[in-house]
Each structure stands twice: as C-alpha cells, then as structure tokens.
C-alpha cells in the first residue's frame, strides 16, 4: 500500500511540476487578501488592540491557512476528471491498493499547499511582515499546513464522490471556505468577535489551525495553543481521510 501510494504520489507530483502555473495561480487570491486586508483593517485593528502589534503580522497566519483552504479544496475536481477520463478505472482494474488511490491524491494536495504556504510566507516577509523565521517554528507551522491540506483535500475528494459533478462541488467549495475563514480568528482577533461567533469559532478546526500557526510564527511561541491546535487538526485530518477512503471504497457499483 505504501509503495502504491508513493508511485501514484510521484505521478501526481510529476504532472504538477510540468504545469507549475497552477500552483502559482491559486496563490493569487490569498495574496490579494494579504495586501488589501492588510491595508483595509490596519487602522481599525491597531486602534482596537493597542498591544497587538502590526495587523500585517497578525494577518499572515490567517492568510497562510487561507492558502491551504484554496489550494486543497479543489482536489476533488481533478478526481472527477480522472473518473471521467478513465484513469481511475485503469487503477481499479489493477491490483493497486484502493486506499493508496485516495491517499496519494490527498498527500499530493498537501505537498502542494506546503509549497504554496512557503511562497506566501516569503511574499509576506517581502511586504514587511515581522514573523519568526526560526526553522523549528516554520517546521511546526508546515506540519499544521500539511495536516489541514490533507483534511480539506479529503473532504473535497469525499464530496466529489458523493456529488458526482463538478459544478456543485465547486459551489460547495466556495460556500465552505469563506465562512470557515470568517468564523475564525484568521482576520479578526477573538477579542473583537461578538460572543456567538466566538462560540462558533470554538468548533471550527480552521480557528484552531490559525491559532496554532500564529502561536509559532509570532513570538513568543505559545506551546499550549500549538498543542491544542495540532491535536484538533490531526484528528480532523484522520477523520476526513478515513471518510474519503470509505466513500471511495463504496464506489464499486
């Protein structure tokens, strides 16, 4: 199973590397948010949270998580293409592990968002964000990025199998990503949220992911917050991956 996953993962990576444009293309939106939101909310943030430092620094972890969401939530679209083009059938008639088919896709998505978030981080630093560049901190951040990428790619693949069509999948992807961002501390500090949003955010894995990334990127590092965030995201990734695999296995008609 691991060998199968590795071979298929290698295939997806090879295809991605041949079309690097796509990797950059999905970066455009988070970048626009980084620039526009960074300007738009700066004064408000600094007026409301006098001790909060620069808004740009606060925003970067949120934008990193946003990159993950936008980068991985479309993985299911390419699964549908593979089903239509017969690529999935070709795998299914071979003895290849069925788990590997899903796992390789999900890991490929995760690898893609890891690269994307590194790029976003570099751009943020160029734009003047002051974040920790300690390799340990960056490594811990990338763990969260990877797990969240796995989770959202799994959700997308699972939904693709249930919905069978690209259009509703894209619609749900859009519908899903924005509220998940807004019901978290990605753009707004918890202190400024109304009570009910704060409650909702508590159940939002994105909020915990943002908190975990923020806890390592902005000094001083907050190990407790990171640990909670890591646990939430890891469980989320495990559950969604399991769900996607079982959805795929039920595909045999």
């Amino acid at each position: 199973m691991l060998a199968d996953t590795w071979h298929l993962f290698g295939k997806y990576m090879r295809i991605t590397l041949r079309m690097p444009m796509w990797t950059f293309f999905t970066l455009i939106q988070p970048l626009i948010w980084l620039v526009i939101f960074g300007q738009l909310f700066r004064n408000m943030y600094q007026a409301s949270v006098p001790a909060g430092g620069h808004y740009m620094d606060f925003l970067v972890p949120g934008i990193v998580i946003m990159t993950v969401l936008f980068g991985s939530a479309w993985s299911g679209v390419s699964l549908l293409r593979d089903i239509t083009s017969g690529t999935v059938d070709r795998m299914l008639v071979s003895p290849v592990s069925r788990v590997a088919i899903v796992l390789s896709r999900v890991l490929h998505s995760a690898a893609q968002v890891v690269v994307q978030s590194v790029i976003i981080l570099l751009l943020a630093v160029l734009l003047g964000a002051k974040i920790s560049l300690n390799p340990l901190h960056l490594g811990l951040m990338l763990v969260i990025v990877m797990l969240l990428g796995i989770a959202f790619a799994s959700v997308s693949n699972g939904l693709a199998i249930l919905l069978q069509r690209e259009e509703p999948l894209v619609a749900i992807g859009n519908l899903m990503t924005l509220p998940l961002m807004l019901f978290s501390s990605a753009l707004m500090p918890v202190a400024l949220m109304p009570e009910w949003i704060r409650t909702v955010a508590h159940f939002n894995p994105i909020d915990h992911a943002v908190a975990a990334v923020r806890s390592v990127l902005i000094a001083p590092m907050d190990a407790g917050t990171y640990a909670i965030g890591f646990s939430v995201v890891a469980v989320f990734a495990a559950v969604t991956t399991g769900w996607a695999i079982s959805a795929f296995n039920s595909l045999r008609d």
Binding site: A3, D4, H7, L8, K11, R14, I15, R18, M19, I83, T84, S85, G86, T87, V88, D89, R90, M91, L92, V93, S94, P95, V96, I161, L162, L163, Q164, R165, P168, S250, L251, R252, D253
Partner: protein, 415 residues
C-alpha cells in the same frame, strides 16, 4: 479462460443491464461481443474486470472467482477501457512504468518490458514524448501496451478502435491478431464494427438487452441467415410499403423479411432470379422502389435478424452507461439531472436543432419508449411497419452522430 453463468446486473434504476448472461470463452480465442448501444457489453466487461458488482450468477476469470478472489483476477487480466485512462501529461514511457509499478513489477522487469512493448507496437521513437502529442492511433497502441505490461493471459478490449480512422483501425487489427497468434493471448473485445468482428474474432456473440442472442463463428452466423439478401429502399413514408412487405412474405422463395428504417431486407433463395418478381410485386402494390441491392448475407444481416436493428445504426456505447453506474451510488438528484441533460445535445448547437427536428418529424410512429429493439418486425401489422421503424432510428440517431460512420441515414430521413 472465462466462464460466466447466469450473470444478472440490475442498476439502481431497475434496468436489467445484464440479464442471465451465459458465456464461455476458451484460452487462446479472440471473442467479440457485438451489440447495440446499451446492450450490456461494457457492463459485462466491467463486471469481469472486478470494478462492477453484480446481482446474480457466477463469474470465473482465468480460474478465479471475481467475487471471492478479485485480486487474483486483476493480476491475470489486462483491460483497455473505452476511456483511455492514460495520463496526457506523462510520456509514454512514464505511463508504462507507472502501470508496471501498479502491478508491483520490479524496475528491471518494467524496463525490459517497456523495450519489448515499445518495439512491438513501434512506439520506440515516441516513448519519451508527452502523450498529449500522440495521435489517436498511437494513444490506443500505448493503451494496449499498458494493459499488457504485466504479461496477462487475458485482455479485455472495450471498443478498441472507436474513433480511429480506417488506416489506424486496420493497423490495430494486425497488432491484435499478432498478439493472439504469437503469444496465445486470449482476447475478449466489444465492438460495433462488423468488419472488426468478422476479421478478427474466432467466435462472435451478439448481445442485446443484456442477453446473448446468438453465439458462433462469423461463418456460422452468416450461414444462419438463409439465402441472399435483397435490400429494397422505398421513398420515405411510402404508405404502400408495409402492405407490399406482408404480401412478399407470402411468396415461397422468401425465407425472411426484416425492416430496417426505410429499408426492407428480404432473404430469398437464388436472389438474382427473383429480382424481377420482387419488382413486379412492388408495382402491383403501388409502391416505388428507390434502390435495390443484392448481396450475400453479412454479419449486418445476422445482427438485424437477432436484434431487429442494423448495427451500423447503433454505434458504440457512450460514456452514459458508465456514468449511470457511478452516479447510481449516491449521486441522487444531481446525477439524475445530469443524466437527463446528457441525454440530448445541448440547446443552441446544430445538433440540438437536428434533434428537435427529428423528434417532430418522427414521433407519429408507435411508442417503443423503452428503447427496446423489437425482435420480430415482420410479425407486426403491415400498415405501420415503416413509420414505426423510424421511431427506432430516432432513438439511435444521436449516437450515429458521434460515430460519424453512416451519413446515409441522415440524408434519407423524412423531414
């Protein structure tokens, strides 16, 4: 090599896609499944290649049961599906190597096999180019090479030459024949090209409505149609054609009468000598024969006899059937809607306009909404035999369109 007994597959919609199918295919044989659109060919292949479940019956492939031993079955077979499934953004070599890895072959073996297959299919020079630069014929060859990488003893080819030009098709036939001859490879292929079944297959089964209608060598099947085939074509909607058909059937020299759209097939002994009498009878009934042709029976006649439709009018199975299977797994309303949309060409395209014209021009015939091909056309009341047949072709027409194989039908239809 293949033993199928009482195979029944019911789609969630209730459609019996395969209905009590029995099939035995021997090692070393090239066997062709011939059938109209939706006959159950692809479904049968999908069941045999372990990717579709089934409701009743037993399926043994290469000595293994598909239900209890799917992994062994997968290792023993190679499958070339209608959708090619090769990756366009990989090179031919990478596609082959990945395929080998999926079958858990070791690196050295994979490389040796790629050289071998590359040489065999004359793809050597193109192996390191991206598949997106390949021609249709080359993709098909690569497709088949991929299916052979692990040296299976049995290969399924689902419409292997669909969409290829005649030259590529014939060249592919030679490869398939050679594979069978030199490596004793057992080949099960589905096709709607009669020449393909006739040229390649040792035995042919005609499948319709999920059942095998007849099995035999091409020669046996052609022999089962008695006498010469005389094909008469009438003016569209000729009111007297039906009466004439009933009358001519009474003649002692006519063994069978079959309608195909506006064409009437007569099977007569010593055809050439009977032509004057046939023409005389036509005149007596006040009908005008536009064209008349006389030939020895072909597989097309066999097909017409057992399915009530001409195979040239049925074309290949589209991806519809395949999608229905996946969509049935929980696509719910979305997939239903999708299928409904997909049933006819999109509005506003030239196809859509033609389609609508067809519907208006042809819906005065009988119901037959179920999409089933009538078995005994000649037994019907004579007066509406003609128009009702055209209802059939109305259903078949959109698939003709894709195959592009028979323009005659479009030209000669009543408006």
């Amino acid at each position: 090599m293949i033993q199928v007994k009482g195979l029944t597959k019911i789609f969630p919609s209730g459609l019996r896609a395969v209905d009590g199918l029995d099939l035995t295919i021997n090692a070393g044989e090239i066997f062709a499944l011939l059938g109209p659109n939706g006959a159950g060919k692809t479904t049968t292949i999908r069941v045999m290649s372990t990717i579709s479940g089934f409701d009743e019956g037993s399926v043994q492939i290469a000595g293994y049961n598909v239900d209890s031993d799917p992994q062994k079955v997968r290792e023993s077979i190679g499958v070339v599906a209608q959708q090619t499934g090769i990756d366009y953004f990989l090179t031919g070599r990478e596609n082959l190597a990945l395929q080998g890895q999926l079958y858990r072959m070791n690196r050295a073996d994979i490389n040796a096999r790629i050289d071998e297959l590359g040489g065999y299919f004359e793809l050597h020079d193109s192996l390191d180019r991206l598949v997106s630069t390949y021609s249709g014929g080359m993709r098909r060859k690569l497709d088949i090479a991929c299916a052979l990488i692990h040296r299976p003893r049995l290969v399924f080819l689902d419409e292997p030459t669909l969409g290829l030009d005649i030259k590529s098709r014939q060249s592919l036939w030679r490869y398939i024949e050679k594979l069978n001859r030199e490596f004793n490879l057992t080949i099960l292929l589905t096709t709607h090209y009669l020449e393909e079944a006739d040229n390649l297959a040792h035995r042919v089964a005609i499948i319709n409505l999920g059942k095998i209608q007849v099995i035999g060598t091409p020669a046996e099947l052609k022999h089962s149609v008695q006498g010469d085939s005389v094909v008469l074509e009438f003016a569209a909607g000729d009111p007297h054609a039906g009466k004439f058909a009933t009358a001519i059937k009474q003649e002692p020299f006519v063994s069978d009468v079959l309608w195909e759209t506006d064409k009437l097939h007569l099977y007569v002994d010593s055809g050439a000598g009977r032509v004057p009498r046939i023409m005389q009878a036509a005149t007596e009934h006040g009908t005008t024969v536009r064209t008349l042709s006389l030939a020895e029976p072909t597989l097309d006649d066999v097909f017409l006899k057992y399915t009530g439709a001409s195979i040239s009018g049925t074309a290949g199975e589209t991806t519809d059937e395949w999608w229905k299977q996946w969509a049935g797994k929980g696509g719910g309303n979305w997939s239903n809607k999708w299928q409904a949309d997909n049933g006819k060409p999109a509005e506003g395209t030239p196809d859509a306009a033609d389609w609508q014209k067809w519907q208006q021009g042809d819906n005065k015939g009988g119901g037959n909404a179920s999409g089933e091909w009538p078995q005994d056309r000649d037994a019907n009341p004579s007066s509406n035999a003609g128009p009702e047949q055209s209802q059939d072709s109305n259903q078949k027409w959109p698939s003709d369109k894709w195959s592009g194989s028979d323009d005659w039908k479009k030209r000669d239809k009543p408006e």
